[in-house]
């Protein structure tokens, strides 16, 4: 009544042809017959793969630097940035003789991403000041157990002899954008603190 869109239902007697149902059934069967020959929308997955965007956000990788040392310093900015709270880590101090393993004095002894919580938004990648975490075009495979979806360093850190290519997501333009402090979201709390100090 309010919207003036109500339709009055007319309960008229069905005609003899309608009562016989057969014409209606026949036209219905023609529709289903037509659908037999229609193109199917299904993509037969393992054989056929749907094309994905070059900057697809899939399974994460923890990058190493050119020498093969882990870039992550366990600063925790990714975990803070993560809206799904999927990332957790434990920091540790680098010991003598581990310089070839870890790039800086602090590193992540444990780094876990829960792939069931992750929404693959890429904010961790954006937050990372060390170019350590990236999303890749790899798809997280399914498994039978929930706990198997919590990926540790064994699955996240790229193997030295099997580097993961992230050049698609780490273009010079992206790098420049990340370091451009004119954008508010690129300023860390340190920048903000500096700014406030300079004002004083």
């Amino acid at each position: 009544m309010l919207t003036n869109r109500s339709i009055k239902v007319v309960k008229k007697e069905m005609s003899l042809l309608e009562k016989a149902y057969l014409p209606a059934i026949f036209s219905g069967m023609l529709i289903t017959l037509k659908h037999i020959f229609m193109r199917k929308a299904t993509i037969k997955y393992p054989e056929q793969v749907r094309p994905i965007a070059p900057v697809y956000r899939g399974q994460h990788v923890l990058k190493r630097d050119e020498a093969g040392a882990e870039r992550c310093t366990a600063c925790g900015l990714c975990a803070v940035a993560c809206p799904a709270e999927a990332i957790t880590m434990t920091a540790a101090e680098r010991q003598k003789g581990e310089e070839n393993l870890y790039r800086e004095e602090k590193y992540a002894s444990k780094y876990e991403i829960n792939m069931l919580r992750c929404i693959f938004c890429g904010l961790c990648e954006e937050a990372c000041p060390k170019e350590a975490i990236f999303l890749t075009d790899r798809i997280v495979p399914s498994t039978f157990q929930r706990k198997e979806f919590v990926y540790g360093k064994d699955k996240l850190v790229e193997p030295i002899d099997h580097r993961v290519d992230v050049t698609k997501r780490q273009t010079p333009a992206v790098l420049e954008f990340k370091h451009d402090k004119h954008h508010k979201h690129n300023r860390t709390f340190l920048d903000k603190a500096n700014q406030q100090n300079s004002h004083h």
């Binding site: 069967m29 529709i31 037999i36 229609m38 199917k40 299904t42």
Partner: protein, 341 residues
């Protein structure tokens, strides 16, 4: 060759072929349902998914067998057995082809040419409801019992209209033997031309008799969980489901034999083929026709929604029964007018 040996081989062949067709009918059902809904359907097991029925069968075998402790154990076991037995028994009177000549002897491709073939067929088909009834009753489950009650009342209601439709056919053909009925259609004019209304009634009743959609009220997943087979598991459930597909195959064969010339096909005598070659070709055509009707059963299932129970009874008693009676009278009047009585 000993005629009895030939009969034994024929029985075994018909048995195996029936099972095979029913097996692949389950695959066909899923595939047809899929393509009608713009899906692809089973395609993982073997090439094009052709091994899917085998996988389904193995799954059924491996499932745990449950017999409810409150059920009547023997009746519970007998139920699916009767359903399967009666489904397989009907294939006996169907003429699967003409005569085959082997080693200078002539063999008929019909297991038993009963002169009361139609009566036998009806007798066995009406026994089929006992399997469902006993199974549903023995389950000691409300849903099963409701399904069984629905099945029995539905089958009784539609059997009457079906029988009356056949009476008109018997009037025009003058015989109760299936072989005779098929041979009369040898000239090229199928019985459906003389009995269009009878065919329509018979077809609708066949849907109801085989418990297929739109008359699948005994199973009726949305209301009764699984109907009469709610409590069944493993191979016994498989028997019930399989019996439905065998019934579908056999009723297609019966429809073809009664109304669509059986194993005859147009211009069969103009081809100049002799004996065995023609017989085999006829059998091929017979199966082609049967497969069309099996497809038709599935086609209807995936098109039309289920009837409500009162609508089902209304259709059976108030529409099909009077129509069948009118058909009988009409047939009688036309035959009298043409001077055949």
């Amino acid at each position: 060759m000993d005629p009895i040996l030939f009969k034994a081989i024929l029985v075994l062949t018909v048995f195996i072929v029936t099972l095979l067709v029913a097996l692949y009918a389950t695959f066909g059902e899923r595939k047809i349902a899929a393509v009608m809904q713009d899906r692809v359907g089973p395609n993982r097991a073997g090439p094009f998914g052709l091994l899917q029925p085998l996988a389904d069968g193995i799954k059924m075998f491996m499932k745990q067998e449950l017999i409810p402790s409150v059920s009547n154990k023997w009746l519970f076991i007998i139920g699916p057995c009767i359903a399967m037995l009666t489904a397989l028994m009907t294939g006996v009177v169907i003429p699967w082809g003409g005569n085959l000549e082997l080693f200078g002897q002539t063999f008929s491709l019909q297991i038993a040419d009963l002169n009361v073939g139609i009566l036998y067929l009806f007798g066995v088909v009406s026994l089929g409801v006992y399997g469902i009834m006993i199974g549903g009753w023995a389950s000691n489950n409300k849903f099963s019992l409701l399904g069984a009650i629905r099945a029995s009342s539905q089958m009784i209601s539609y059997e009457i209209a079906m029988g009356l439709a056949i009476i008109a056919l018997v009037m025009s053909t003058g015989t109760l033997s299936l072989k005779e009925i098929v041979m009369q259609q040898d000239a090229g004019i199928a019985n459906v031309v003389y009995q269009p209304l009878g065919f329509l009634i018979f077809l609708i009743c066949a849907f109801a008799e085989t418990n297929r959609a739109p008359f699948d009220l005994p199973e009726c997943e949305t209301e009764l969980i699984g109907g009469y087979h709610t409590e069944y598991s493993s191979l016994k459930l498989g028997f019930f489901l399989f019996a439905e597909y065998i019934n579908m195959f056999i009723s297609s064969a019966v429809i073809v034999s009664f109304y669509f010339g059986g194993y005859n096909f147009p211009f069969q005598h103009e081809l100049g083929l002799d004996g065995n070659a023609l017989t085999l070709l006829q059998t091929g055509f017979f199966f082609a026709k049967i497969f069309f009707f099996v497809f038709f059963f599935m086609w209807v299932r995936w098109t039309i929604p289920r009837f409500r129970y009162d609508q089902l009874m209304h259709l059976g008693w108030k529409v099909l029964l009077p129509l069948a009676l009118i058909n009988i009278f009409g047939t009688g009047i036309v035959m009298w007018w043409m001077g055949k009585i």
